[in-house]
Amino acid sequence: MSGPIQPLAVSAYTVTSALGQGLESHLAALSSSHGGLRENDFSSAPLACWIGRVEGVEDAALPAAHAAWESRNNRLAWLGLQQDGFLERALDARQRYGAARVALVLGTSTASIGATEEGYRHLDSDGRMPAELRRPPIHAPHSLAGFVAEALGLEGPCLTVSTACSSSAKVFASAERLIRLGLADAAVVGGVDTLCDSVLFGFNALELVSPQPCRPFDQARCGISIGEAAGFALLERVDSAPGAPRLLGYGESSDAHHMSTPHPEGLGAELALRDALARAGLHAEQVDYINLHGTASQKNDEVEAALIARAFPVTTRASSTKGFTGHTLGAAGILEAAIALLAIRHNLVPGNLGCTHPDEACGPQLALQSEQRVVNVALSNSFGFGGNNACLAFGRAPA
């Protein structure tokens, strides 16, 4: 088992999802139990489902200097960077530390595949990518990080993590290792995933998409609602931002069970959880809130509910916020990290929107409605295809 790490300051963070642009809109929606899902009006062919679509992505054109990176995913990244003053905070870190001392680690599962799909719908008369989309860097998994590195002018280590739905949780771990070894003084981490036909029709083919708004942990749940999001956080050593909330720990593991079904006893999920607690130097009793993976798929919720029920006391509160945002896949890690940080900042336990009759595997920890209570320590779970698990631990700065 891993030993404790030195916590890092999360000196700035922001998120944009179906709940709106920036942290204030997320706080307002979570406090008032006002979800952001709508009937699917996105896919190129009809598909009866609900989605978490971000308003305004189509209008967020990239600056002319970065036009070669144009794609819907990079537009969402650009929109997200401008919320909560994050762009200025990242540029300030570049100024303070130097461009080569700020790492960039971003998670995505879709990258700009939506642009590749568009190209295939409009192939030219020779069956080739249409001229406007003949821009190789956007047809690769590194499209997002390549664009953001250029937009922020960062020249440190730069990495795309693409482990399906744990992608933008694992970025915190990679960044912590770079800072611990002194290869960087700060890191911009985060992730962006956008709605596209690949994920809508792909999860539909797996019979995992709900025809109704998703209902995590409810007995009557019948699948996920897919969403999109962009989120970013700035990590620095604690002495640079002593009052900022902290990354206390992280855990990573592999199920070694099945490509698209979680381990039936939640073995990998529990390993990631125990790993995160060990690195944070925490006992389960010290955890005030857990933002659950809670996708509303039959299997995930059953397994995760049982894990929380057996591993935590009644005093720990837990909820999935995917009823608000949909499952934002590669961006779920950073979206829900931001929600965990909001929970600490505002002493708010978000309710588990969409659940009225909890699965019998659920323990008393599940918070159906939002609650105002002290949150000093919050965890966030993210589990992906391939049995790829991550758990993050955040805490309030000591008074």
Partner: protein, 265 residues
């Protein structure tokens, strides 16, 4: 800090013309080239998985298995980092073509095999690894960024780590975008300390703002130029086969890694 030292305990390599690292050494010693094979054997996978697994998985699993076997470690003990510039381009081409014509007919299996971490998933399932596994990409800098990710993981966790970097040949419009016309991959087992298993040590130095050093050499029409992993890693693979030398890898657009072999004493 801008210097790292990491120790190599196992090396895997596969291309249609090179079945393993030993074949590369033999080729450099003047042995005649072997006949090309179409499909990596990927013996670590159970037979039924081997039939179903996509080509990107077969390649990654083949070289991972080779490197781990050479290292003598139990595969299930090793955290792993799988790097690829483009993922499975055959599946990307299939999916984009199907979505453009008949989206409701998309294959569920090909969809779950399309995730960038499919090789990591198949590998950890086949060998029963519960340690952390990752799947990364960094465009043309995937090899350097992957080496940095695996080395930092090994050094902070103080345990050996498996690094696998591979790309398969592309096809269709997306293959034209990637320019990848051949398959190649290599794998290294990296240890944070020198041990009796150490084959060679790597001194790694980070040099930022390295625009000039990272400018690609003029194309000479060699096969390794048509694969992003081979194009970066070919000098390092040759140095490993010779047991000496230094080369420069991109770890990001302007971040260079100088990788020098330091022979085990």
């Amino acid at each position: 800090m801008s210097r790292l030292q990491i120790h190599v305990e196992g090396i895997g390599l596969w291309s249609p013309a090179l079945a393993d690292f030993g074949a590369l050494q033999a080729q450099l010693d003047g042995a005649p080239p072997a006949a090309a094979t179409a499909r990596p054997p990927a013996a670590s996978l159970p037979a039924n998985e081997r039939r179903r697994a996509p080509e990107s998985v077969l390649l990654a699993v083949e070289i991972a298995g080779q490197a781990v076997a050479m290292s003598g470690h139990a595969a299930s003990d090793l955290p792993c980092v799988f790097g690829s510039s483009f993922g499975d381009q055959l599946i990307s081409d299939y999916m984009c073509a199907t979505l453009a014509s008949a989206p409701a007919e998309l294959s569920p299996t090909r969809f779950h095999n399309s995730v960038h971490n499919a090789p990591a998933g198949y590998w950890t399932i086949a060998i029963g690894c519960h340690a952390t596994s990752s799947a990364i990409s960094a465009g043309a800098a995937t090899v350097g960024a992957g080496l940095l990710e695996a080395a930092t993981l090994s050094m902070t966790e103080q345990r050996p780590v498996l690094l696998v970097c591979s790309d398969i040949a592309g096809t269709g419009p997306v293959g034209e975008m990637s320019g990848t016309r051949s398959s190649f991959g290599f794998a290294l087992v990296l240890s944070p300390m020198r041990t009796p298993r150490t084959l060679v040590s790597l001194g790694i130095e980070l040099t930022p703002h390295a625009r000039h050093d990272l400018r690609p050499a003029p194309a000479v029409g060699a096969w390794y130029e048509s694969n992003p992993i081979a194009a970066s890693a070919w000098p390092l693979m040759q140095n490993l086969a010779k047991g000496e030398g230094a080369c420069t890898l991109a770890a990001a657009e302007t971040l260079a890694l100088r990788v020098a072999l330091e022979t085990a004493v």
